[in-house]
Symmetry: C2
Subunit: 594 residues, 2 copies
C-alpha cells in the first residue's frame, strides 16, 4: 500500500489560487476568520494526522476487518485509538457551527480534511463521516431539547451518528420501506424493523451512537410520502446528559464485503426500540433532502481519494520498475532496462489518473465552497449557489466516482501482475473504490436526478446557471488556450439537453436511455471548465514570474492531455446518448435469456 | 454466486450455424470424426460437468483459498476430487493429438469446454489449463525420450504442467531473467533460481508436476537471445516411468491475491534442481512463440467467461428485484414496484454484457478454428490462418478481457449495494476477472504487439488479410443491415493504420502513444464484423422459417444495440489515437510529482 503523502501544493493551488478562498470567506458573515494562513495551517495539521496516524492503518485494517459478537462490533487494531486522537484534536467539530459547539470553519475545510483522511484510510473515515447526516438532521429539524441532548456530543465526536434508511427489499426506492413506529404513552415511539447496510451502525470508538431512522407511523400514507424520521440512541440519554439504559437496537451481523472491510456495515435490528420523532410526521424524505447534496459531495470525495492514492502508488512504481528500453533508445543506459515511465502507454495511464484527480479536486472544492455560500451568503447568492449545487452534485457524485474507479484500476495496471497481489496494496484501492458508484445513489440514479429532475425538471434553468459561468470565463479569456473548445462544448451541451428534453416529452424512456451517457458527457465538460480555468491561471502565473514555474508548467501540460486525450470521450457519448430508446426498450424481457 | 447454466443454444449457434464447424472439419485431415452430432454431445457432457461439479465449488473455493505448508500446497475442498473426475472422464486429452494419447478432437472443442469450465470456476480451470504450455513445448521440441517420459501422462492429466517464466524483477521483459542452468556430467543441468507467479506450481491434484523452466546456460548471451528451456519434474521419473526421487524444486510460498484465490500462485525455488534441456540452447523464447497464440486465446476466454457469469447473475436479479415504477407507467401493477429490468439504464447495462459476451464468443471460436486450420490445413490454408491468428490474437486477448472486465463490473452495478456484498458472488467475478488484463501479456503489451509487430511490422499485410475477409462478407451481402457501416469502418481502420504507421516512421513513440486506443478500436471493428455476420445469418434463418424465431430476433436486436451503442466508442478512440505523442512525452519525469 503506497504511504499517503498529502498533495499540499495542489490543495493549496486549488484552495488559495484557483478558488481564492480567503477573498470569498472575507465576504461571508461568520467565516471572516478563515484566512489563508489559518486554512493552510489547518490543512498542514490534517495532512500530518492523515499521513502519520491513518495511513499506517489502511492495509492492516483491510487485512483484519471488523469483528462481530453479541456484545457489538470491534474495529481493527488502532482504529479506536486513532479516533480518540481525532476527537482530542478537535477535528470532528472543525466545520460545525459555533452555536452547536463547532469551530465554525467553512464546509470547504471539512472537505479538504476528509479528502486527506479518506485518501489515507477511507474505511476509517466512514466512522466519523457518517455522523454528518445525523448532525445535519438534528441541526435543521431537531427541537431545542433534542439539540441539547444530542448535538454537542455528536459535533465534538464524543458520540457518532448513523443514517438508517435501507431495508433488504429497498435501497434506491425508499417508498417501499416497512419499519414501523408506534406511538407510546410518553410521547416517544416504539421502532420495529430491520435496516441493512448501516455504516458505523455499531463500533467500539465512541460511547454512544445516535441513529436517525426512517420509519412509518401507523396512519402513514403508502410510498415516500409516509416516511418519518426518528432519533434512536444506542443508549438512552438521561435528562442530565448521562447515559441511561441500553436501547432495544442491536447489530445483528456485519456484512462480508469486497472492500472497505475495516468499515462495519451493519444489519441493525430495532426491536421496539425507543425513538423520538424529529421533524414533521410523514415528511422525513423532504427533511433529508436538505443535506442530500453535501452527503453526496462527501461520497464524491471517495473518487478523488482513491484516484489520488492509486496515482501515488503507480507513479512511484513507474519510476522504479525497470522493463524494456524506450522506443526511442535507452534512457537508462547504465541499467539493465529503462524505468517504465519512459513508455508512452505508461505515461498515458499516469496522466489519465493525474488529470482526473486534479480536475476533480478543483471541481469538488468548488462544490464545497458553494455549500458555504448557501449557508452564509445573502439570499440572492445563496439561491444561485444552491441552484448550481443542485445541478452539479449528481455530476460530481457519479462522474468523480466513475473516473476515480478508472484511476484505481489504472493503479493496478501500471504494476502489472504485482498489482493483483495484496501485499502491494494496489488491488485494495480497487476493492475499496468499487462501492463509491453504488452507495449514496448509484450512477444510474444520479443520472436520472441530473437529467430528469435537474435539467429537464427546471426547464433548462439550472443548466443555464452553470453555462453562464462558463460564458463569463470564456468572455474574460477570449483567445486563451482551450477557451474556444470549451465554448463549443458549452453550446453543444445546451443543444443536446434541449434535444433530449424534447424527445423525453414524447417518451419518458428517452430520458432514461440517454441519462448515464448524458451525465458522463456533462462531467467531461464540467471538468474541461475547471481545466481551462487552471490552465489560464497557470499561464498567468508563469507570465507574472510567480516562481514555482515547473508546477504551473505541469498544470498546463496536464490540461493539454485532458483536452486531447480525455475530453474527446464526449464524441462517443454524444452519439450514443442520441441513439434513442428503441435499441434498449424493444427487446422483450424473455429474449434477454439466450 | 450465480449458478452456472451453460448457454448451449448460443454455443451451438456459433459452433454449428455461424462457423459451420462440421463442414470445416470434414475438409481437415484428422478431424473427420468431428461431426456436429459428436461435437454437440461433447459440449453437452462438458456443460453437465461444469454445471454440476465445478460451479458449486466456485464460491467456496474463493472463501477457503489454498493452503501452503512445507509439504506443499493443498487446494480447496472438492478441487482435487473434481480434478480426478475430470481425468477419469478423459477431458484433459480431448483435443490432444492421437499419437500423444489424446482424442484428436479439434482445438475448438477444447476452447468450448474451457469456456464452460472456466465460467463455472476459473480458479479450478487454472490447474489443468496450465498444462497446455508444457504439453505444447514437449510436443514440438521434445526428443523421443522426453516425449515418452512426460507427454502421455501430461496429455491424460495424470500429471500437470507449468510454465516457469517470471522472476521478481522481470515479467514482460524476460530478457532480464537470471535463473541459471549448469551442465552436469550426466548430460542434465542443475537449475538454480527463483520464479514467481507460477500458477499451479504446486498442488495436491496430481502425483507429479512437470515444470518448463526458462533459464540461462553459463555461456549464454545477455538478453532474450540467451534463454533456454528446461524440463524440471517435481519428482524425477525413472526409466520405467515410475516416480523416483523428489527433485530440488519447492514451493516457497503462495501469493495472497485480489481474486482467483483458489488458484495457487506459487513462488518456486529451484535449488540445483535436475533439469533437462528441451529444444536448442539459447532459443527458448523462439520455441515458446510457437504456442503463444493459443495460450493467449486461452486467456482471452476468461473475458468471455466472466462476462457470461456476470450477465447470468445480473439478468436474474434484474427480473426479480423490484424498485421504482417504469418511466412509462407501471409494468407490474399488482406488485409494490416494477422489476428493474423495465428501466432503460438497467437494460443498457444488460445489453452491453450480452453484446460483448456473444460477440466475443463468435470471435474466439473463430480464432480457435483458425488454430485447427493451422494444425491440419494444407500449406496455403495454414499460412493464411496463421497470419490471421497473428493479427487477431492480441486483439482477442486484450479486447475480450477489457470488455469482459467491464461486463463483470456491470454485474456488480446491476445489484446495487448488494453487488458489493460477498454473499451474492458478483464482486468475486470482478476480483477474479481483474487478472485477465495483466497476465499472459498486459493490454499495453498486446497493443504494442498488434500495432508494432503485426500491423506495422508486416507493412499492413496481416491487416489486409483480415480486411479482405470483411470485404468478401460485405460483397456477398450488399445492402444487408450493418454492411455499409462495417465497410466504412474497414476503410477507416486501414486509413488509420497507414497514418499511424507513417507517423511512427518519424517517431517510434507515435506508435506507443496510439497503441492501446488502436487496439481497442480494432477490437470494436472486429466485433462489428462478427455481429454483422450473426445478424445476416439470423435474418436469413427467420426468412427461411427455421424456427426458434425469438432466438434469431434477439440476435438481431443485440446486433442493433452493438452498432448503435457500443461501436460508436470508436469515434473517440479514433480522435485520441491521432492526438499524437506530444501530450504524453513532453512532461519531464520530475513534473509528474505535483
Amino acid at each position: 500500500m503506497p504511504a499517503y503523502k498529502a498533495p499540499l501544493r495542489d490543495i493549496s493551488f486549488v484552495m488559495n489560487e484557483l478558488l481564492e478562498s480567503e477573498k470569498l470567506y472575507q465576504t461571508l458573515p461568520g467565516y471572516e476568520e478563515a484566512t489563508a494562513d489559518l486554512m493552510n495551517a489547518i490543512v498542514e495539521e490534517g495532512a500530518k494526522f492523515a499521513e502519520n496516524v491513518l495511513s499506517p492503518l489502511n492495509q492492516s485494517g483491510d487485512e483484519e476487518g471488523c469483528h462481530w459478537s453479541e456484545e457489538g462490533v470491534t474495529t481493527p487494531k488502532g482504529f479506536a485509538e486513532a479516533y480518540r486522537q481525532y476527537v482530542d484534536n478537535g477535528w470532528p467539530a472543525l466545520s460545525a457551527s459555533v452555536e452547536d459547539g463547532g469551530q465554525g470553519m467553512p464546509n470547504l475545510m471539512g472537505i479538504v480534511i476528509n479528502e486527506m483522511a479518506g485518501t489515507a484510510n477511507w474505511s476509517w473515515l466512514m466512522y466519523p463521516g457518517l455522523s454528518h447526516g445525523a448532525v445535519k438532521t438534528i441541526e435543521e429539524h431537531g427541537d431545542a431539547e433534542q439539540k441539547k441532548k444530542y448535538l454537542t456530543k455528536l459535533v465534538q465526536g464524543e458520540w457518532t451518528g448513523t443514517m438508517c434508511l435501507t431495508e433488504a427489499h429497498c435501497g434506491s426506492d425508499l417508498g417501499l420501506l416497512r419499519t414501523k413506529a408506534e406511538p407510546q404513552a410518553d410521547g416517544s415511539y416504539a421502532i420495529t424493523g430491520t435496516k441493512i447496510f448501516i455504516s458505523a451502525g455499531d463500533h467500539d470508538m465512541a460511547e454512544n451512537i445516535v441513529h436517525i431512522v426512517l420509519a412509518r407511523l401507523p396512519d402513514a400514507p403508502a410510498g415516500t410520502k409516509g416516511i418519518s424520521l426518528f432519533i434512536v440512541p444506542k443508549f438512552n440519554v438521561n435528562a442530565d446528559g448521562s447515559l441511561g439504559e441500553r436501547n432495544a437496537v442491536t447489530c445483528a451481523s456485519i456484512e462480508k464485503k469486497m472492500g472497505i472491510k475495516a468499515s462495519a456495515t451493519c444489519v441493525m435490528n430495532f426491536d421496539g426500540a425507543t425513538g423520538y420523532l424529529i421533524g414533521p410526521p410523514n415528511r422525513g424524505l423532504n427533511c433529508m433532502f436538505t443535506f442530500m447534496n453535501t452527503a453526496r459531495i462527501g461520497t464524491a470525495i471517495q473518487g478523488l481519494a482513491h484516484g489520488q492514492l492509486a496515482f501515488t502508488g503507480a507513479l512511484s512504481y513507474a519510476k522504479e520498475r525497470l522493463a524494456m528500453r524506450s522506443l526511442t533508445g535507452p534512457k537508462n543506459p547504465d541499467g539493465p532496462a529503462d524505468p517504465i515511465i519512459v513508455h508512452p502507454n505508461v505515461r498515458r495511464m499516469l496522466l489519465t489518473q493525474k488529470a482526473f484527480v486534479e480536475g476533480s479536486r478543483a471541481f469538488l472544492y468548488f462544490l464545497a465552497q458553494l455549500g458555504d455560500i448557501v449557508d452564509a451568503g445573502n439570499e440572492e447568492q445563496a439561491k444561485a449557489a444552491d441552484d448550481l449545487m443542485a445541478l452539479l452534485t449528481p455530476i460530481g457524485k457519479a462522474f468523480v466516482t466513475e473516473t476515480g474507479y478508472e484511476a484505481a484500476n489504472i493503479g493496478v495496471q501500471v504494476y502489472g501482475g504485482h498489482g493483483f497481489i495484496r501485499e502491494w496494496g494496489m488491488e485494495q484501492i480497487v476493492r475499496d473504490a468499487r462501492i463509491s458508484m453504488l452507495y449514496e445513489g448509484t450512477t444510474g440514479i444520479q443520472a436520472l436526478d441530473l437529467l430528469g429532475r435537474k435539467v429537464i425538471g427546471s426547464g433548462g434553468k439550472l443548466l443555464l446557471g452553470f453555462t453562464s459561468l462558463i460564458d463569463e470565463f470564456c468572455a474574460a479569456n477570449e483567445g486563451a488556450e482551450f477557451v474556444d473548445v470549451l465554448k463549443a462544448y458549452k453550446d453543444e451541451w445546451l443543444g443536446l439537453s434541449m434535444k433530449i428534453g424534447e424527445a423525453a416529452m414524447q417518451n419518458p424512456d428517452e430520458a432514461g436511455s440517454a441519462a448515464v451517457d448524458y451525465l458522463m458527457y456533462s462531467g467531461y465538460v464540467t471538468l474541461a471548465y475547471f481545466w481551462a480555468r487552471m490552465a489560464v491561471l497557470a499561464k498567468r502565473k508563469i507570465a507574472e514570474g510567480a516562481g514555482d514555474t515547473s508546477f504551473y508548467e505541469a498544470k498546463l501540460m496536464t490540461a493539454r492531455f485532458y483536452f486531447e486525450r480525455l475530453l474527446p470521450r464526449t464524441v462517443s457519448l454524444k452519439q450514443t446518448m442520441l441513439s434513442g430508446a428503441d435499441n434498449l426498450m424493444q427487446m422483450p424481457e424473455a429474449l434477454f435469456e439466450f
